[in-house]
Amino acid sequence: MSALDAAGVTLAATEGEVEGINLFIPAAYDIIWSAVVLAVIALMFKMILPKFTAILDERTAKIEGGLHKAEAAQAEADAVLAEYKAQLTEARTEAARIREEARTEAGQIVAEARTKASEESARILETAQRQIEAERQQAATSLKNDVGTLATQLASKIVGESLEDAARQSRVVDRFLDELEASSMTTAPKGK
């Protein structure tokens, strides 16, 4: 640097003062070399700017593509979610329906079973009652006969008189029993 500077200063010293206006009047060599460097720089930018522009455009496209892809994926995910939710709702409805049906059916079954059981029990009760009634009548008849025989034997023993006349005997016994029945009927509600 010092060599160049020294040269510059020597020039200034030898040539003396340069007119100030020269600063603003270009020399021919100044213009020519300016044109050369400026042209080279302009050419350089003319050549590299399209490359940068292309890269910029490509980047924009890539980013946009990525955004589109993400959007599509999001939409797909939304659709799947909606479908899943719909299926879930459907399944829930189905389950509720089945449960309701089962409940109704169970109710029916219980009601049916109850009806059947009560019918069965009524039938059994009736049979039993009828049987009891039959047995009671049988017992009553048997008792009536036994009582008649016993009473007759007892009476004949007591009276000492043989009541051989069957008709009379029977009449006496019947009368006795009727009285007995009548008296037991009138006293039964009180006695019981």
């Binding site: 640097m1 020039l11 040539e15 213009i31 300016s34 044109a35 080279v40 720089i41 350089m44 930018f45």
Partner: protein, 264 residues
């Protein structure tokens, strides 16, 4: 920065002079192709600028590396903050022009503070004039291409919405604006800034050299002050270098926009 080292022989402090902008020739002395120190600085600046961008472009990928990121940031600044901001949808055509202007001016300005180069390539008026002329031709051509010669002159010299009698006042001003002031101020602003910056730095560092090596006693201490000032102005020159590149490019965009837009 030791521009005045050579003058030490005869002693004393030599203030910076405009002779520094006319160094002696290296090649082709006396011809139209005379190549001197400032031309060399320009070539170096251009070479570095081109090397940086070509390197960034060559390795350019979809996913940018560090260098490509920086290059893209710079290019985006011009494209978005200047071209698209000012020119809107017309911007695309002018992006190469504005990009070239911005980075060329920045590269040629910044050489003013780079050690061993130490002078701005734009401090010699030829380059700013050439760039201003380029802008001038482009905005005139764009305007005429869009509106035709008469249409362009009519919209620019007789702005609509102004009472007709004011044209007496406005039209001469507009003629001077469009055809003289705009290109001239573009070139002058840039060169004057760079010349002033260079002279300031030379003054500071020349004084520092004088104070440290030639002055005696308490005056030596003054060297610290002038050195600090030189440091401060170096930082300031970085700002000016960027700012002037921005201003030149921004105004170029504004002038083009004024030429091609329907309304002002």
């Amino acid at each position: 920065m030791t521009l005045f080292a050579a003058t030490g022989e005869d002693g004393g402090f030599h203030p910076p002079s405009i002779a520094e902008f006319f160094p002696s020739a290296i090649f082709f002395e006396g011809t139209a192709f005379e190549f001197n120190r400032i031309m060399l600085v320009r070539v170096v600046a251009a070479a570095v600028l081109i090397a940086l961008f070509v390197l960034a472009a060559r390795k350019a990928k979809l996913v940018p590396g560090r260098g490509q990121n920086i290059a893209e940031m710079g290019l985006d600044f011009v494209r978005v903050s200047i071209a698209e901001e000012i020119l809107g949808h017309n911007a695309r055509r002018y992006v190469p022009l504005l990009t070239t202007l911005f980075f060329a001016i920045l590269a040629f300005n910044i050489t003013g503070i780079i050690p061993f180069l130490n002078i701005a390539g734009t401090s010699l008026i030829g380059l700013p004039i050439l760039m201003a002329l380029w802008v001038y031709v482009v905005y005139l051509a764009s305007g005429i291409q869009k509106f035709g010669l008469f249409g362009y002159l009519k919209t620019n010299l007789f702005p609509p919405g102004v009472p007709w009698f004011l044209y007496v006042l406005i039209t001469p001003i507009e003629i001077l604006q469009v055809f003289v002031f705009r290109p001239v101020t573009l070139a002058l602003r840039l060169t004057a800034n760079m010349i002033a910056g260079h002279l300031l730095l030379v003054l500071c560092f020349g004084a520092t050299h004088f104070f440290f090596f030639e002055a005696t006693g308490a005056l030596k201490a003054m060297g610290v002050v002038s050195l600090a000032a030189g440091f401060g102005f170096t930082l300031f020159e970085i700002l000016v270098a960027v700012l002037q590149a921005y201003v030149f490019t921004l105004l170029a965009a504004v002038y083009i926009s004024m030429a091609v837009e329907e309304e002002h």
